[in-house]
Amino acid sequence: MSRNIGKSVARVDAFDKVTGRAKYTDDRCDRGALVARVVRSTIAHGYVKSVDVSQAEKIPGVVKIVTCFDVPDIKFPTAGHPWSVEEAHQDVADRRLLNRHVRYWGDDVAAVVAEDEVAAAQAARAIKVEYETLPFVLDPIEAMQPGAPVLHKEYPDNVLKHTSSRSGDYAAAIQEPGLICVDKWYEVPTVQHCHIENHICFAYGENGRIVVVTSTQIPHIVRRTVGQALGIPWGNVQIIKPYIGGGFGNKQDTLYEPLCAWLSLQVGGRTVKLDIPREDTFVSNRVRHAQKIHIISWVRPDGTYAARKLELYSNQGAYASHGHSIAAKGMGAFPQMYPCPNVECDSYTVYTNRSTAGAMRGYGIPQVMFAFESHTEDVCRRLGMDSLAFRRKNLMPVGYVDSFSKNENYFDTFNQCFDKAIAYMDYERKHREYENQTGPVRKGIGIAPFWYNTAVWPISLEHSSCRMVLNQDGSIQLQVGETEIGQGADTAYAQMAADVIGLKDYTDVHVQSCQDTDVTPFGLGAYASRQTYTAGFSIRQTGLILKDKILEYANEMTRVAKYDLDIVDSQIVRVTDGRVLMPLSQLATEAFYSLTHSVHITAESTYQIKNNAYSFGCCCAEVEVDIPLCKVKVTKIINVHDCGRLINPALAAAQVHGGMSMGIGYALSEQLLFDPKTGRPLNNNLLDYKLSTVMDHPHLEAQFVENYEPTSAFGTKALGEPPACPVAPAIRNAILNATGVEVDQAPMTPHVLYRRFCEEGLIHDSWREEEQ
């Protein structure tokens, strides 16, 4: 059953994308659409006292202006999570369409609907907002202190959620004589997804319902949240999701769909387009949680852990979005990655007056991997122990089963991945050679593994629905609720479906890429690197149902028992002697148009997935550090992943490249800065926010270990997010190898390195020394 699976076939959407035909949200919008603009707060925290729209209303082309005083008094959640029917497990509903209480610089205060973009922008600028200014707070630990400004009255200490886990007896364990204590803080920044297509949507009324066409990863979830936000039945909302220009988790959230739908309703259901400018996308969509992470390890001289403690402070920004789930996922990795009998973990997700943090590729794991794997290296330095040997000794062993998720580590993945990375990089020789360099430019090499688990079971619902329809020519229409967001999911689905049914070629499967909640089977969309994993189950199950129906019909036509029939290369074959009885196309045409028994052969089913899979790997990076310039250049890099069996090796490698690039940016250049005096974002554009260009990377090497995942329908597991997880700590450890300097903060920009190199005596700056 692997005529198509395992082959690096071309993407099903590649032709349309290289010819510019692929239609994205804006490409589907009627030219006559009205255009909306959002008026944003110019303070970080306060109340809107009044909004003066008198000048704005006079601008020709302005159709409607609405303010925070006009919106319905409904609070709604935005997270791209499955809804929970149990109230205690529902996402926090702290959003309104527009806000009187503004909680970050850029919060939504009012909106203009106009005939064109220029009029909308002019009117937005002409609206005068009077504020009552309140003190603001940007740092999560400061926000937890007594007397800090309160963002949401329901959370007087600003702590959205605090969770903890305990095993063994930490306090007793640290009394053991001879232990070495390594106590350190690590810090990771706010970064943004920077998909090249900004979030955009347009809405219109049709047949008494509201239709929203939107750049989203989660159409069925957005349908529910639009219904909740507007207080209308969910069935009165139709969401259409065309091709999207990247998402990376930002679009795994309800962004401006509810406001856009509501604006359309305010102008009688006329089409209203809300195209968020890049500068606003940085500030008013979602960002990755900045975190401060405190790790205390008590380690024996033989390199075993006696006790460990984690404190994690996650900067939520102004609204709950995905809330604590991200910090919780990161915390969950701590006791699993390096199992130790005595562990205390606490994580806090804290509201601050900054841009709202949500899902972003890795969902909390890139943050904690920077801390965990920097810390591993730091522990080994204190012990004088080789860090690779330490990792091989202490990382999650084969056979480990997590008590909560029941995930099992079936294979020796960590070591297999290390071995491939080490061989490619010549790690061990270089690591020794680079240890004691002198001179201004030094080389270094570093390694970091990562922990990741596919999908979200058992924390929330995991199911997948699939529909297959046999066409007259023997080809198949395929629909699933998991969305194509650029990763190549549609192509993988076509490969899987072709093999399950017995079609000759994956191009005989027509995947309905544009999703429509009126038509597409219910599904939860693209997140948690779960698409091939979850959709695999429903595709396999539905494919077998369809195949069975086809063979039943073949039995009617041939009198051969169904059990002796099979579909091979799109032909009906008698299994007993391999004789080809007819092409599938002949059967399909007969089934449609038969005068004796015409039937439309279709299949549809839902599979509930009650398991989950570990997906591990590592990154190894080599750098050149120019000490006087405080600049780091990555000269060679590899990621090795075990994502189970590869459905499409070329597409898998391409996923890895993209994640590595994001990881390099996280390590060295990307951060969204906020002015400490005003809370205003300082670099919310693609010029000042340093996204990697093609000049900032060496060749990105992607390799795989293919251990067939036993819990999976096709042996696959997560790959979408994992590549972004281990890169920053590998680069950090390479800088340590080159310079002997522990840098505990990302991104490791020249500003950060300058301070650290001065502190460690690598740079002597007389001016700086005099100032101190």
Binding site: T19, G20, D26, H195, L686, T693, V694
Partner: protein, 166 residues
């Protein structure tokens, strides 16, 4: 201020065209709005991301910061015009498919047009030169790895030389 309009005449993908535009309109807006050339993508509208790139008299420009009225008398090529009359893909489009250089596809049109300009120069560029020539385009999906390979491979093909990584 009352809107001002101007008639613009130019050649779009081999066809002489005329339209009347708001003098403040960008070339991106005119191509997308008046001619429905939806391959011209908007990613930043201030010349930072490269998604809106078109060829003007053979040279790659960010059409978002090029006024529509400046198109007067120019030859403008969008990705829609790169395909041959019978639907044949150009070598660089084919290379983008073969090298898995496409993911979400939003940066793809701009990259292919800049690559077209680079390849039309008929020069054998070093890796560093090629990276610099492509660096005006941002991509978040691919890490640029396969895009770079597609362009480099096509460069060698056009020069009739073996591709070193072939």
């Amino acid at each position: 201020m009352a809107k001002q309009f101007k008639e613009v005449h130019f050649n779009l993908n081999g066809r002489d065209v005329t339209t009347v535009v708001d003098v403040r309109a960008s070339l991106t807006d005119m191509l997308r709005g008046d001619f429905r050339m939806t391959s011209v993508k908007k990613g930043c509208e201030v010349g930072e991301c490269g998604a809106c790139t078109v060829l003007i008299d053979g040279e790659a420009f960010n059409s978002c910061i090029y006024l529509a009225v400046w198109a007067e008398g120019k030859q403008i090529l969008t990705l829609e015009g790169l395909m041959g009359p019978n639907g044949e893909l150009s070598d660089i489009q084919k290379a983008f498919i073969d090298e898995t250089a496409v993911q979400c596809g939003f940066c793809t049109p701009g990259f292919i047009l800049t690559a077209t300009e680079i390849l039309n120069a008929g020069v054998e560029y070093t890796d560093d030169e090629l990276r610099k020539l492509l660096s005006g385009h941002l991509c978040r999906c691919t890490g640029y790895e396969n895009i770079f390979r597609a362009v480099k491979k096509t460069m060698y093909q056009r020069l009739g030389k073996p591709w070193p990584e072939g």
